[in-house]
Amino acid sequence: MNAIEAEGLTKRYPPDVQALDGVSFSVPEGTVFGLLGPNGAGKSTTVKILTTLSTPDSGTARVAGFDVNREAAKVRRAIGVVAQNPGVDGELTGRENLILQGRIHGIPSAELRRRADQLLEQFGLAEAADRVARGYSGGMKRRLDIAVALVHRPKVLFLDEPTTGLDPEVRAAMWEEIERLASEEGLTILLTTHYLEEADELASQLAIVDRGRIVVQGSPEALKGELQGDAVHVELAEPAQNGAATGLLDGVADVRDVVVEGTVLRARVANGATALPSVMAALEAASVSVASVRVSRPSLDDVYLRYTGRAFAEAEAEASRDSSDEEDR
């Protein structure tokens, strides 16, 4: 059975932001599903609709077997939500945050006290339990946020950018925690992220979102398989005549997906170390002067480039130009 089914979701924010343009996907029960994309791609809007915060202009969605439009109250009992900005109440202690959420969910007080203790222990907040959350570190706030979302033992957990803004060590700890939740507690988890490695690490299936659409869907292995090899990133000394640079590299063995944007040339090669000399030679032969060269393993940038034809940074910049305010869509 599917814990989440989205079918043709569209959402438009007046005057002219088409946040979602027909998003469909399904998430089998007990799995971790990743929505991957830059800011403004429509990840947060999708989460808002699936969690009943927002309603779609058209399309339908079922979460935990309930329709998000017609059975919103039932959906709300079945889900836990960790939004992008931590929704913990800074003036309350960690424990009080948990108690408040539990009361809203109608958990009897004796049981709720036990549940709060257990979650505080589980998320390493036992010592800080009776301090106000305002003084917590970023990682602690995020852990409390997740604990609050789990207080009523939801079936489906939504994590919107769970590790954005966290230190690398804290991020690694958060990954472990998410993996544990998925494997031991049998939760269905939908997470959004703009880190490829995060989706790679955690998700069994992922969908890449761009401009309100899902451009490709599959397991991280499958997506990476299509991206075998290394990315070559060449910084040109001066803007190239696009056609010229692209054409030149066409002749070099093993070079694919050449894209030139301004002074940046990107390409994919089977093996960076062996291909680089011939790439440089070809550019030199065409008297294109090179400022720097970098070879890297596939990143979200590359997945993005491959499926959307534009660079991730470009997409983010465009998103921030498009949205009239700073809100995430």
Binding site: K48, T51, T52, L53, S54, T55, A73, R76, R77, I79, V81, A83, Q84, N85, P86, G87, V88, D89, G90, E91, L92, E96, L100, Q101, R103, I104, H105, G106, V132, V148
Partner: protein, 258 residues
């Protein structure tokens, strides 16, 4: 409805805990009404000498005015907390929980009602110390408390509703500041009605703040005129229902815009 009330008390608990942890806030909240009472009491002391002024002690006259004014000011800032919740993502988290929508506003309004009662009791105590009398007795004082709470809840709901529409602290502050003092002065808070200009008397007849003041003052100073008190209370109940309806609409409008 029962669910909204139960959830409202949970949210009120949250709001009161948050206030309890702000010593400065508590200090100011307790000091302010004392300052109002002493300051205005002194400033307008000679008002009783104006021919036609009927109450012999200005403090007796002033207490209901200052209590209602304090309730009005305090409650009208209620929307600021809502904007803070919106900015911090607390509102969104609550909206995806099974919380009754009405409790989002009800919790804040109920908190403000508790604060109003505490502040009013402090002012009544202080008034007794500085020699005020309450000829209307305990019934009169209870009516005054009820009026303060009734007006406070209406204004609080209105302020929270506006906050959900406006969503910017600066704009809400500007709007509230623009109406607070005019509404206070177009009333009988400090001056007997027939001693203020005619057009202001007319305007005051349409000012809910003044309805609460007149009902309170009648109850506290004279007791008795229950018909008049009930009529004013009835008007205030209508205002409360309208404000509540507006606040619920504002919650729905906010959610549509997310």
């Amino acid at each position: 409805m029962a669910l909204a009330l139960r959830h409202g008390t949970y949210m009120m608990w949250r709001e009161l805990l948050a206030l309890w942890r702000q010593p400065w806030w508590i200090a100011v909240t307790l000091m302010q009404p004392i300052i109002w009472l002493l300051l205005f009491g002194e400033l307008f002391r000679s008002v009783v000498e104006i021919p036609g002024f009927e109450t012999s002690s200005y403090v007796d006259f002033l207490v209901p005015g200052v209590i209602i004014m304090t309730a009005f000011f305090g409650a009208s800032w209620g929307g600021m907390g809502m904007i803070e919740d919106l900015d911090r993502g607390v509102t969104d988290r609550l909206l995806v929980s099974p919380l009754a929508r009405a409790a989002l506003v009800a919790g804040k309004v109920m908190q403000s009602a508790v604060v109003i009662v505490v502040q009013s009791l402090i002012m009544i105590g202080l008034a007794l110390i500085i020699g005020a009398s309450f000829p209307g007795g305990i019934d009169g004082v209870l009516v005054m408390l009820a009026m303060a709470v009734l007006l406070g809840c209406s204004v609080g709901a209105l302020s929270n509703g506006l906050a959900l529409y406006i969503r910017k602290e600066e704009s809400l502050i500007a709007l509230l500041s623009a109406v607070q003092l005019p509404l206070t002065f177009i009333s009988t808070a400090f001056m007997q009605k027939d001693l203020i200009p005619g057009w202001m008397q007319t305007a005051a007849d349409f000012n809910p703040l003044n309805w609460a003041i007149e009902a309170s003052r009648t109850a506290v100073l004279e007791g008795g005129d229950w018909g008049f008190i009930a009529a004013r209370a009835g008007l205030l109940v209508v205002v409360l229902l309208l404000s509540g309806w507006f606040a619920l609409r504002a919650v729905a409008a906010y959610q549509r815009s997310v």
